[in-house]
Subunit: 190 residues, 4 copies
DNA sequence: GATGAATGAGCCTTCATTCAT
DNA sequence: GATGAATGAAGGCTCATTCAT
């Protein structure tokens, strides 16, 4: 028998990402994705249970890989401030180098499909970040407020500004990121 | 007779909002909206050019009314900091009192439909806000960085945290808003 | 090795019968049958030319085995009336003991697939029955009318009443069968 | 607005009947039916809730009309035997004159769709027949056995023989019907 | 012989929109 | 202005069958 082909699976995921970015979430039908992946619609159902599974899997894949790239070799002994700035820079680098993946994730993150995602699976890779923040709070370096608030102020602005759909005329440069990180730090530092 | 028309138009818009919040953007078809508005599908095409027009109009309506409520009687002589905190509080009040409108706007704002919106029309009512910030910069009270950065740090965190889809287990209280505004102020103040 | 083959073939036929009885004729797809038989879809095409062949073969198998059981040791010297009653009782016994096979055959017998069956192959095993009837006619015990008419009056009522789809609230007991055979005999006897 | 068109409804039902008779139940898809009725597939869903509803409605229509034709002006004072023979003749006439309707009903009656039919609705029009039989039993003219048995012996043979799928080489003539009715009467009479 | 991957065709149904009244 | 009927196109998905191993 033929063997399941990772190349084919990747082609399907790739087609999904590029198509969703191009024509939007709602307009991306299974048969269009299949056509772009140069595959029969039926083949998609060999690799994924259904359309929902395809989209969710694609999203989770992206999110996990993003976390791994941003938080790789995260040093617990590094000063909190330095670690946070480092993560910010890496986030920017990631987005710049994988703009398609990022754009897809943003679109997905605000669609109703998000409800179907296992949140725990996505948040797990960010655990080192949580620990870092916790450490900062204990050292009285960071404000003692809910995590959600700290994260929102830290990285949401960049996530938002970098989105071309939301800010078509605003280009995020490394300098902008640097500035944003400084502002964020002012927001969360004690 | 005008009155009758407006009632019907409002019924359609109302049905659109509640349906989208209930079953999501993609599943909200014209005929379902028509049924909920107790109107024929064909009637919708009398008041709106097409589905896209209906959704965009609904969105713009909401955005404009939101700006008006938040920025009403905005006093230019008020200290910058006080004005910004006031806007934050009003934003929270608005979201709490019009959760359906807000939820629709958030869903719309991240759909591909956003591309079809005339950005200028939406941003116009926020002009007083721009002027206030500009004033703060000139007075050396606020950091001299792009507007987009300032706005992103000011209000995005709350917009994000208040979204139940994104934070199903996090409740935003007036205290949280107060805290967030303080953090935001730390971020943007010079 | 032959044994292994036959086991697999029987597994496929068994899966076909049970699945058709469970979810109906139309819903019984080749891949579902394969799954139930614990076999690859492709394997089915080794033992049967196609789906049609699978179904028809299953049907013919059942029909032939049914005839053999009902008419085994059929004694030509036995009085016509006794032989006919005996066949009736055996028919009932068969149906009770092989309700799955019978149910499948009934469903198949009224589907368009029937057209594909070689009628001669199915009717051949019933030859002793034909001869018996013929004998009865010659002896002026049975009405001299077309065979089809005689058979229809003899056994159709039981076939029909025993079908749970057609008579969900009617239970056929040995007494009912006895009664039906008496009525049938009244119908065909001279 | 346009008005719902009984002609169109009838065209759909007619197309359903002729197509099912031609290519069988399973192969009769909604789009093929639509094409034959010279109508869009979507139009079918205006007149019927779904495919199942279309088929069931068609069947019930046929069954009810059949009963009405066979049992019209059924005279309660007529001798039981005469009434039964009359019904038999009318049944034959009906089948001859509406062979398409009859063929559809037979195919439907043995499909899994039958489970979806409200049995009461179909049996109601046959009530006069029930009463006649009941009358015959009370007068000690007919055997005192369950109704189902009596009906099965009375009309099943003809229903079966007249079915060209089951008996492609057997032609039912008025004489055959007459003979069958005589046999049936012998079966049920006391 | 046996397998699971792979497929184009087709399934039922709903869509956004227009037509006729 | 308002309606419900009407539609071609497209939706997600499964089918019977064949391919490559």
């Amino acid at each position: 028998m033929r063997v399941k082909d990772d190349i084919k699976r990747d082609a399907i995921i790739g087609a999904t990402i590029s198509l969703v970015n191009e024509i939007g979430f709602a307009a991306s039908s299974v048969s269009k994705i299949a056509k772009r992946a140069d595959v029969s619609p039926a083949t998609i159902y060999i690799y994924f249970k259904n359309k929902e599974d395809l989209l969710v899997s694609t999203y989770v894949n992206i999110k996990v890989s993003m976390a791994n790239i941003i938080l790789r070799e995260f040093d617990h002994t590094m000063p909190v401030r330095d670690a946070i700035f480092l993560a910010g820079k890496r986030l920017y680098t990631y987005i710049n180098g994988h703009s398609e993946l990022f754009a897809f994730a943003e679109q997905f993150g605000n669609s109703p499909y998000t409800d179907l995602v296992d949140k725990a699976e996505i948040e797990a890779p960010f655990k080192p970040m949580y620990e870092l923040i916790q450490h900062g709070i204990e050292q009285k370096i960071i404000k003692d407020v809910p995590f959600e608030l700290l994260f929102a102020h830290l990285y949401l602005p960049i996530f938002n500004l970098v989105n071309p759909r939301l800010h078509p005329n605003f280009e995020v440069t490394p300098e902008i990121v640097e500035t944003s990180m400084h502002m964020a730090w002012d927001a969360i530092k004690l």
